[in-house]
Symmetry: C2
Subunit: 490 residues, 2 copies
């Protein structure tokens, strides 16, 4: 009991840090962690006129394309406006293909309104369009719309799948293999679910590729203390920017089959492939090319989203997952589980539909759509190259090529003295580095420790999304800062 401002006695809270759910306390999510909080404070200080050695904060901490100035695809937004306010269907200002898409989506909605709940698994015709998109993408490998679940962004699908998988206690607790470095949604979800996180390290020397021997030894070690049930892959890679080879995917599938692991393929960057000689191969396509021994057996969930690629429509929280070879009873449980949350946001479902059913040759919006799409992807490819090139000119920074996705995850050499100073402050050395970078230059990056890295190595993740002029400033500032930092602590 303590006295409050109002002069009454205040009791202890019911819900305190000691009485709350301990698994929630274990959750960490660096992409929106302390560094981003501080960046937002600094932005506020700048608005209030506080003097800083810079005039704006440049945020390269999160894959948020529109926030960095990328323009939405005109066609998508026209259809969304038509769906929101169908009166516009009577106006002459929209192309016929946009109107047709809107009419088709509205017809599939209860009462012809995007304000109605959809089926929990998603609007029927959207799932059918997703299935046809997957079939085209995978050279005709069949896709059953009943295996497609629309989601609230890819994160929602990933967490739902993990939720199905996790059970047991002690040595029989479910273990899930995730890459290191990883996208911290995975570690956060596993912490919250109380599952065992099994790390497998990507090979930085080989452009962040997956090593079969590493998978094997990591799994063997994990089997001593938990029950490994699933293997998560992010391809193209976040935060690594790596694009997996067909051979690698084949190896991973054979490994999963042999070791009896459920595969989760996070393929939200499937259109973001920039490097010469690299190509996106879906896990599903490779699985089916390996023949029925694999395609009839290996359980796979694949995730996609409206938030990345050339769309960058994060705010709509659209996405889908496809489940392959899932046990029928489990799938019924999945369908039940998603029904509790009623349905994914319908505007996001509509947007997902447009992504998988974009304007076709001959339709009035096709040329503009292709121009916008190509321009966005070409610009990203340029910025990927630029980022790699400039970072590699900095002594003490080594940067793998950004083959795909939207991120660079360069290795940074930190002087011993800075590591000691960070540790004295109880900070990860790369957090100390990134925080100093933010304070001195206004650049917001995420320390490698938020994604995981080999002990004794340090990194940061930066997005390649800022507009080219700002990206150049950012890279120049990082270069200058790194040199100054190295001198200061040498």
């Amino acid at each position: 009991m303590k006295m409050t401002e109002n002069g009454v006695f205040s009791r202890d809270k019911v819900l305190t840090i000691d009485t709350m759910n301990p698994t929630v306390k274990n959750v960490e999510y660096a992409v929106r962690g302390p560094i981003v909080q501080r960046a937002m404070q600094i932005e506020k200080e700048l608005r209030e006129g506080v003097k800083k050695p810079f005039t704006e904060v440049i945020k390269a901490n999160i894959g948020d394309a529109h926030a960095m100035g990328q323009q939405p695809i005109t066609f998508f937004r026209q259809v969304l406006a038509l769906c929101s306010y169908p009166e516009l269907l009577n106006e002459n200002m929209f192309p016929e293909d946009a109107k047709n898409r809107a009419r088709r989506i509205l017809q599939a909605c209860g009462g012809g309104s995007v304000g109605a709940y959809s089926a929990s698994q998603g609007i029927d015709c959207v799932r059918q369009d997703v299935a046809r998109y997957i079939e085209r993408r995978d050279g005709g490998v069949p896709c059953d719309p009943d295996n497609v679940y629309l989601t609230t962004g890819a994160s929602d699908g990933i967490v739902t799948m993990l939720k199905l998988l996790v059970c047991g206690e002690g040595a029989s607790r479910t273990g899930v293999m995730i890459s290191i470095p990883q996208y911290p949604l995975y570690s956060a979800a596993l912490a919250e679910l109380g599952a065992v996180q099994i790390n497998y390290y990507l090979n930085e020397e080989k452009c962040w590729s997956m090593d079969l021997s590493e998978l094997e030894s990591s799994l063997a070690e994990a089997r001593k203390h938990c029950n490994p049930k699933a293997l998560c892959i992010i391809n193209p890679g976040n935060p690594t920017g790596q694009v997996q080879s067909r051979q690698c995917i084949e190896d991973v599938i054979r490994f999963a089959a042999k070791e009896r692991l459920f595969l989760m393929a996070d393929e939200v960057y499937q259109d973001n492939v920039y490097a010469e000689g690299c190509q996106f191969h879906s896990f599903k396509k490779v699985l089916f090319e390996l023949g029925p021994e694999y395609s009839d057996n290996v359980e796979l969930a694949s995730f996609h989203s409206t938030s990345k690629c050339y769309m960058g429509e994060c705010g709509f929280r659209g996405g889908y997952m496809e489940v392959i070879n899932m046990d029928a009873e489990v799938q019924a449980q999945l369908s039940k589980l998603v029904s509790v949350r009623l349905c994914p946001p319908v505007p996001g479902q509509a947007l997902m539909d447009l992504v998988v059913n974009s304007p076709q040759p001959g339709e009035p919006s096709h040329i503009t759509f292709m121009k916008e799409r190509t321009a966005t992807l070409s610009l990203l490819a340029e910025k990927a190259k630029l980022t790699e090139q400039i970072l590699n000119t900095v002594p003490g920074i080594t940067c793998n090529p950004v083959q795909g996705a939207m991120y660079s995850f360069p290795n940074i050499s930190l002087p011993e003295k800075s590591i000691k100073e960070a540790k004295a402050l109880g900070q990860a050395p790369d957090m100390f580095y990134c925080m100093k970078l933010l304070e001195e230059t206004g650049i917001c990056l995420v320390p490698g420790s938020g994604f995981g890295q080999k002990d004794g190595t340090y990194h940061f993740r930066m997005t390649i999304l800022p507009p080219t002029d700002k990206l150049k400033i950012l890279l120049a500032k990082v270069k200058e800062f790194h040199q100054k930092f190295t001198q200061q602590y040498s």
Copy 2:
């Protein structure tokens, strides 16, 4: 191992009903359960030309106003169209207040796009508008925007709060008190989290009101085997349609204070009050009227949504929660937890903003807005009355007044013979009844067993949302069916 169609041996699945998460298996959600699945099948059969004793399925199973023909508020949809496709700001077809709202929302979005992620807690200016709305609603009781969290519908907020609360094992496992009958999101979330569901029964004889003595005895009993930490209230009630009196809310708050329970007030139907002499009182307002001994101490989370009231915009998945007297460290954990899912859908946030910042007197859209709002609420009030009146003319059906919300939860007398037949089929007797009603009349209601009810009593929940002409058909058919059913099994 078994042989598949392709002639290869199929292995056992990694993920089976026996190896999956057992807490997920315990989840039930009647509002979208087997009866709704069957209704969808029947709709498909009707489309395929299968002959039935009816020509359409009338769905009164879910509070989905637009699906039942309710029209969206014009102003809301105009602003959403403008936000989706800002080119429209250059057109003359939209009123200035709609354009101003859209500009304000877009300015608050990263890159001026609703396709950017927002802050995880929600867009700043939307949270500020929510805070001002709450202050107006509660006669000036202050609201700090930092205590407002935008959510993906109210369900998301409720599950998040429960997630924070649940911990412990065995006799120290967290218990959460919920009303019976309840909205099955609560039981589903508690099952999934492995928390103990503590039932308190509403008093059907007193119009489904809360009894203090029932709360006390239910809590005392629960303390023997778990650690009760929270008390959930739905007001106006789902599925009961009851509106709580100010006195009752006061009693509940005093009870929560005395017994040290965290209060969760589901207030998504706050505009849906129809009955003479009934009024919505927010838990927060009453809490502050009780003075600092309560308002400085009792922990409360209150939930609202864009899905109900006069808006009925379920598909957008918009909502907010306000937390009051939450421990600062716990609130930091809450903020971290919501950051993992990045942000609620931005169109839903925009819509929430319009609800709390609707057209004001003097603005060009005000008259139309008020006309639409009033028409929708008046129609709902009429249908509430109609439902109660007609159902009460049926021998064997007793129906409390629908004071608020969107549902009636009448008591149905079932003949002994039907109860026996249901039990022989392994069905709840009211499920047996509702399933037969569906097959014979095409009317889709949800059995009371999906919401919970006193042993030996039977109910169904029906929404009052169908258009008046269909609602009349529905009620007439229910009447006829009930009489036939009673005869058949007597």
